[in-house]
């Protein structure tokens, strides 16, 4: 049998759903929390993270436990969104002066400090990087060399750089960056690594797998690098109807599977007709490894949601419950009260992927389109709004703030090593993702904008 690396995740999702009744209204709560504590560092994005009250949802941390006990002390608290709206603020204030993690500082104090109030004996978090920085072209220039060329400039180059005026240094910064962005290091080594968590390759069953080959993820990597480089539009990650061949050529026709002598070749081409292709989320590998044997490809949808919109349903992110869902079209028991809340978002998210053929055998190749397979396509939703098919799903996705934020965060985290950590960095981050339409969604232009930020080139 082929390896089934994604099935654990389905199991996890279904198992996790058993606790879902405890998660009612969590997205709402994250916002309500910040209405009570708008100045807290935990609310710098306007919405608290799940980890404010949970270790990993649905398990509550010490602070969340105290909050839960207070909420349940109200006789008519029934975990409904209305009940949270009514009692959350009052409950938060009631536990503000106690010390949930027993480290000697009240919850209120720790919230103001940005300290982790779920763990005892944690001191205050180090202060966020100062906002009082001055942009230094030399620092940005050296960093750009390292991150995009893979090595420091030479000492001699640095000496020459220092002889230039500030204006010339800025020009040199962008000139060096242009050269680095077409370097082998960036295009062949560093940039593909940014796609690993999206593509999730596995050599054991990839094109070099033995004996089973369930997909050739080199197509995925080539498409990712193509879209994220040159003058391309990053929205093509989800909307490209082409593939990139081994020599960089654009391929706009189906690529049939081919048999490999001595191996059990389940899939290794790109059989999908171009009109039904949607970039990275309909490659044969993506469908093969995520959908596998499922009738309703929940894993496929949740991975697309997580990888390209930054919304992880397993972390209670991006929940938009759809009325009358889940319908439990594949009889998995997800209508049970314990499962229904998360699946009222997840199942409608997945319907649009259902016609894409997984590892179910039959006459159709893995990753091809089977319009007659289900009746679910027209029930598809994204962000709580109906979409007619995967094409409409993608159009809505690439126009969303979540898509813009997610791609900006991908590059920001690579360049800074972490997400924004201060209000000033967050403000720069917001400015960057909001600038994407004006930059024609071009990754290189975004990188050029990023190297000019205080976050990247700021010095005390």
């Amino acid at each position: 049998m082929p390896s089934r690396p994604r099935l654990w995740y389905l199991g996890f999702v279904l198992g996790f759903a058993n606790f879902a009744s405890q998660l009612n209204a969590i997205p709402l709560n994250a916002s309500l929390f910040c209405s009570s504590y708008p100045e807290a560092p935990a609310c710098s994005s306007g919405q608290a993270s799940c980890q404010t009250c949970h270790t990993a949802p649905p398990t509550l941390n010490l602070y969340g436990g105290d909050l839960s006990r207070k909420l349940r002390s109200f006789a008519d608290f029934d975990k409904s969104p209305a009940a949270f709206s009514r009692y959350l603020d009052e409950s938060l204030r009631a536990i503000a002066t106690i010390d949930s993690d027993g480290d000697g500082r009240t919850n209120e104090t720790e919230l103001a400090e940005g300290s982790d109030l779920s763990k005892p004996d944690q001191g205050p978090m180090p202060p966020p990087p100062s906002d009082q920085t001055a942009f230094e072209p030399e620092l940005a220039w050296r960093r750009a060399h390292l991150l995009f060329c893979g090595a420091s400039p030479s000492y001699q180059d640095l000496v020459a750089f220092r002889t230039k005026s500030a204006a010339e240094q800025k020009i040199e910064l962008h000139s060096a960056l242009d050269k680095c962005l077409v370097s082998d290091f960036w295009l062949k080594d560093a940039l593909p690594r940014l796609a690993d968590d999206k593509i999730k390759p596995n050599r054991a069953v990839g094109v070099d797998g033995n004996p089973f080959v369930i997909g050739d993820y080199s197509y995925d990597y080539r498409l990712f690098v193509h879209v994220m480089s040159g003058d391309r539009d990053m929205r093509d990650l989800l909307s490209a109807q082409y593939h990139i061949g081994p020599n960089g050529e654009k391929i706009e026709v189906p690529i049939p599977d081919r048999k490999i002598e001595g191996k059990i070749t389940v899939a290794n081409g790109q059989p999908l007709e171009p009109a039904k292709r949607y970039g990275m989320i309909t490659t044969q590998w993506f469908i093969s490894t995520n959908t596998m044997f499922a009738e309703l490809p929940r894993n496929t949808a949740s991975q697309a949601y997580r990888a390209y919109l930054g919304l992880d349903i397993a972390r209670s992110e991006g929940l938009f419950p759809v009325p009358n869902e889940p319908r439990d079209v594949d009889n998995k028991g997800v209508k049970e009260e314990a499962c229904a809340f998360c699946h009222s978002t997840l199942d409608p998210l997945a319907y649009a992927f259902a016609p894409y053929v997984g590892l179910r055998g039959g006459r159709l190749a893995v990753g091809s389109f089977d319009a007659g397979f289900t009746q679910w396509e027209n029930w598809a939703y994204l962000f709580g709004e109906p979409v007619s098919d995967l094409g409409a799903w993608v159009q809505k996705a690439v126009q969303s703030e979540d898509f813009q934020k997610n791609l900006t965060m991908l590059l920001y985290s690579y360049m800074l090593g972490n997400p924004p950590r201060s209000q000033a960095q967050l403000a720069e981050f917001d400015e960057l993702w909001q600038s994407l339409p004006g930059l024609n969604y071009n990754a290189n232009k975004l990188i050029h904008a990023m190297v000019e930020t205080q976050s990247f080139g700021g010095r005390f």
């Binding site: 050296r142 390292l146 893979g150 420091s152 968590d197 999730k200 972490n418």
Partner: protein
């Protein structure tokens, strides 16, 4: 050891000036070390003489991941305790390999300011100072501060080194400069 702590303190105080420190992860560390010591990637460090320290054995500890063979899709978010050990081991191996090559050839590339076969007591201080400055320029792309240069010159007089060959002293010198945190964070 005192000298290493001294240099570490300097290194941190210099780097603290940047608003954010960025970890030089394995892929970049490999290239930057290759550049600094003019060694090919596969000449830097091999465990058991065959497994790449940077691409394989210490890849994860040094901040990268192997998605294909090890099915690792994310790297460490921040350095671990193993990072420091792996980093020092890689730099030391690369230094040893560079010194071995420079000791063999007629035209040494990096350790070229004094004969590596000479005894430490036979070296003159200006030559050592030149080597120190060159190593700073190679690893850290800057000149040493006077105090840093003085500390490393003092290393030549450290009784612990005795009257070893210049090659042994050069190993200590190379490690002292190359394993500074300033080379690991930028």
């Amino acid at each position: 050891m005192r000298i290493l702590f001294f240099l570490l303190g300097f290194s941190l105080s210099i780097q603290a000036a940047a608003a954010e420190l960025i970890w030089k992860r394995s892929q970049i560390l490999e290239r930057d070390l290759s550049r600094a010591l003019e060694l090919a990637a596969d000449e830097l460090c091999l465990e058991l003489g065959q497994y790449s320290c940077l691409k394989d054995v210490h890849l994860y500890a040094l901040g990268d991941h192997d998605p294909f063979a090890r099915v690792q899709y994310r790297s460490l978010p921040e350095p671990s305790q193993l990072t420091a050990i792996a980093f020092e081991r890689v730099v030391l191996n690369a230094c040893i390999n560079r010194i071995a090559r420079d000791g063999e050839g007629a035209a040494p590339t990096v350790f070229r300011f004094y004969p590596l076969q000479q005894k430490l007591s036979q070296l003159n201080r200006p030559a050592i100072a030149q080597q120190i400055r060159d190593l700073y320029q190679r690893f850290l792309v800057r000149d040493p501060l006077p105090a840093e240069e003085a500390a490393l010159l003092g290393l030549a007089n450290d009784p612990a080194l005795g009257d070893e060959k210049a090659s042994m002293f050069s190993q200590a010198l190379c490690l002292a400069v190359g394993s500074q945190l300033e080379f690991l964070f930028f």
